[in-house]
């Protein structure tokens, strides 16, 4: 009974330290709100509002119609008509255009004769990802045009490719970003908070006071872990609600599964945070140390670019990264209605990581206490 009473006292003290101070309260809430408001709009790899330069040397109807179709597309809001090769290159160079299309003078004639008509496209390699996606859109427009021409001539193309997107029919990037944001915010909250709170106590000398009290290192760890988990849950819930109610991201899976997964994830992060802070003596070290873990962990988690794009050895090396598993869980539960089996197979690594880090942290704390 004593055990629980003591931990309860610790947890209450911790929560008071976090929520009692108005600036601290603000710092827990504001960033979450800010990120939820801004980043879904910022974080898109879609190409909209791009500018395209067109150097059309052909005088025929087909080229004019093609150019018309380009400008009707929502992806390209600015069409620059250029008169020379140099102007075209200059537009790309000065970032005035993301890509430039050069239509040769015999374009319409080649088409009329039933031959293939090549068109050169110049892409800004400095923004290569956007340029490639914009190129993909151009390809789609050209395909549509060719299809219309063939069906207008009364003939059907021999075969067609029909593409559909599952889990996110219109490829709304926001769905992807918000699902990831839940993972990211939980990470920052649980990790930084834990690492900093222990380090702060150490710097202020109150940690030694805790150590000489009847509390064991394990109790202290639980006392630090519980508030961090509570805060992480709280922040994640804010984003979840914003995602579902404000941004209309479809939530297809089980809420219970998500929270269970979140619990184990927060636990593993707390383990990392406690371990890092057990190695540090100042807040600066704890913060920068936790940050040095968090940055690589987030980058390698599939949040910005997919894990499968990484070289095989790196994919295996990032298995101990809890962020990676949780990002997959969140996306799975949100967008794909992942089954319990699938989610549990992803929770197992989190449990392993959690046990590992908490164990090591306990070891370090004991050593420092002795």
């Amino acid at each position: 009974m004593n055990f629980f009473l003591r931990i309860r006292a610790l947890v209450l003290k911790e929560l008071q330290a976090l929520f009692g101070d108005p600036s601290s309260r603000a710092l827990l809430m504001m960033p979450v709100l800010l990120q939820t408001l801004l980043f879904p709009f910022a974080a898109t790899l879609d190409v909209t509002n791009a500018s395209i330069a067109i150097y059309n040397r052909d005088l025929g109807v087909p080229s004019t119609e093609l150019v018309q179709r380009f400008s009707n597309s929502s992806a390209f809001t600015q069409i620059l008509n250029v008169r020379s090769q140099e102007e075209m290159a200059h537009a790309v160079e000065t970032r005035t255009a993301l890509l430039a299309v050069s239509i040769p003078e015999d374009f319409s004639r080649q088409l009329a004769e039933g031959k293939s008509a090549p068109v050169q496209v110049l892409l800004d390699g400095r923004r290569s990802n956007s340029a490639q996606i914009a190129f993909g859109y151009l390809q789609g427009i050209v395909d549509g045009y060719v299809k219309d021409r063939t069906s207008a001539s009364g003939k059907l193309p021999p075969s067609t490719l029909i593409t559909r997107y599952w889990f996110n029919e219109n490829l709304i990037y926001r769905h992807f970003t918000l699902a990831n944001l839940v993972a990211v915010i939980t990470t920052i909250g649980a990790l930084i908070l834990t690492a900093l709170s222990v380090a702060r106590e150490r710097e202020q000398g109150t940690f030694d006071q805790l150590m000489v009290s009847p509390l064991t290192p394990e109790m202290i760890m639980i006392g630090k872990a519980v508030p961090a988990i509570i805060v992480a849950f709280f922040q994640a819930t804010i984003i979840l609600s914003a995602a579902v109610f404000a941004y209309h991201v479809p939530f297809r899976g089980s809420l219970l599964l998500l929270y269970v997964a979140m619990f184990f994830y927060a636990l593993s992060l707390v383990g990392v945070g406690l371990f890092i802070s057990s190695l540090c003596s100042t807040q600066q070290q704890a913060f920068l140390g936790a940050f040095s873990f968090m940055m690589p962990a987030m980058m390698l988690s599939g949040f910005a670019a997919p894990v499968e794009n990484m070289p095989r050895w790196l994919q295996i090396a990032t298995w101990p990264n809890p962020v990676r598993h949780f990002v997959e869980i969140v996306k799975g539960v949100f967008l794909k209605d992942a089954s319990a089996g699938r989610v549990f197979s992803l929770i197992v690594p989190l449990i392993v990581i959690g046990i590992g880090t908490l164990g090591m942290a306990a070891l370090m704390f004991r050593r420092k206490a002795a």
Binding site: D46, T48, G125, R149, S153, R164, N168, H175, L288, P311
Partner: protein, 375 residues
């Protein structure tokens, strides 16, 4: 009013420098983390897709269907796995084992050879990874188009009126996403050093009470601020040069600009982020809060709103306006130009000018906040 004694300034700078080197976390942040991040951005974040994992369910018999199947298998951009049922393939996609699949229906060959009919082929891509899904679509379209031309050719039918788009890359011929991510990532690293590290510095002095000790001494406001700025500026510049050198010689990202231009651009950007970091720490007086504020006000905007991964033009108008206030945006743009285009002052001048303005603003803000705190 505040004068400036070089003797005192030198002493203060030396104190700061000692503090930097005695604390392993400063070394971690300034040298270890940047190199680590460069490697991660070099190898871990890859927006170009090496081989797309897709599933194929070939329900048709017949030469044309297997022709299309082989064409897909033969493509260097596709890693094809065959499945026997739609359920199996769907589950594979739900479990992220494949990022898309193709279904060639039973009546494919029949409908293909019928002159009045079209043979549809179904493609489904995993929308939960929108970027990859678009690549799946584009790649399969490419393979299919080539196959179609080939097929028409073989059957004596001339492919009528095909329009072929031929892409050429300007500035980054190999289109490796690395070449554009790494210059941008150097920005993030510089922000971390400039803002995160320094945000803790002044706050710590207030927490420990050493700030009051300094105030009781003859040290003037100007000396105090300069003693914070100079050592971290030097640290930041050394780190910047290290990052560029590592990118150039270890990761083989071409750097076409001049060292002088890099230093100019780097100086004004560092001064801006240093200003941000110091302003935060002077404002919060508390390491815990300073750390979180720096994370949210400096680091996250540098990641998300600087144009480094996410294109600014694709953002809604109000957000685009917000990005104009973020120094990282101008630094990303100039660093990308320096790496990939070279020292072209016509391209660099606007960015450098704005960086000069922002450094003046943030350092001025810090000076003002410091005066208020000191009185």
């Amino acid at each position: 009013m505040s004068g400036l004694s070089f003797r005192r300034l030198k002493a203060l700078c030396w104190k700061e420098t000692l503090q930097i080197f005695r604390d392993p976390s400063s070394i971690l942040i300034a040298f270890v983390l940047p190199v680590l991040m460069l490697f991660i951005f070099g190898f871990g974040i890859n927006l170009d897709v090496p081989r797309l994992r897709i599933g194929v369910l070939n329900q048709a018999t017949g030469v044309e269907a297997s022709g299309l199947d082989s064409a897909m298998q033969g493509s260097p951009s596709l890693d094809v796995r065959h499945y026997r049922s739609l359920e199996e393939m769907s589950t594979a996609m739900t479990n992220s084992e494949i990022r898309g699949f193709v279904v060639i229906p039973q009546d494919f060959s029949r409908r293909l050879s019928h002159p009045e009919d079209t043979a549809p082929v179904q493609v489904v891509a995993d929308g939960s990874e929108p970027n990859t899904a678009q690549f799946v679509n584009a790649t399969l379209n490419g393979v299919w188009q080539t196959w179609q031309l080939q097929n028409a050719d073989d059957h004596g039918r001339v492919a009528k009126g095909q329009i072929g788009l031929e892409p050429r890359y300007w500035f980054n011929p190999s289109a490796e996403s690395r070449n554009f991510l790494i210059p941008g990532s150097i920005t993030v690293i510089m922000t971390v050093i400039g803002a995160l590290l320094t945000s803790l510095v002044v706050a710590r002095e207030w927490e420990r009470g050493t700030m009051e000790a300094l105030l009781a001494s003859p040290v003037t406001r100007a000396e105090l601020l300069l003693s914070k700025i100079i050592p971290y500026y030097v640290l930041g510049m050394v780190s910047l040069l290290l990052c560029v050198a590592a990118s150039r010689w270890i990761l083989n990202v071409p750097f076409r600009g001049s060292l002088a231009a890099l230093c100019v651009v780097g100086t004004f950007f560092l001064l801006s982020v240093l200003g941000i970091g110091l302003a935060i720490s002077t404002g919060t007086r508390n390491q815990f809060n300073a750390a979180q504020a720096a994370l949210n006000a400096a680091f996250l905007p540098a990641m998300m709103l600087s144009g480094f991964i996410y294109e600014i033009a694709s953002m809604p108008p109000f957000l685009r306006a917000v990005t104009r206030l973020i120094p990282a945006r101008y630094f990303v743009s100039s660093i990308q130009t320096l790496f990939q285009a070279g020292t072209q002052w016509s391209l660099l001048m606007p960015d450098v000018f704005l960086l000069m303005l922002s450094s003046a603003f943030f350092l001025g803000l810090t000076a003002k906040l410091t005066r208020r705190r000191m009185e």
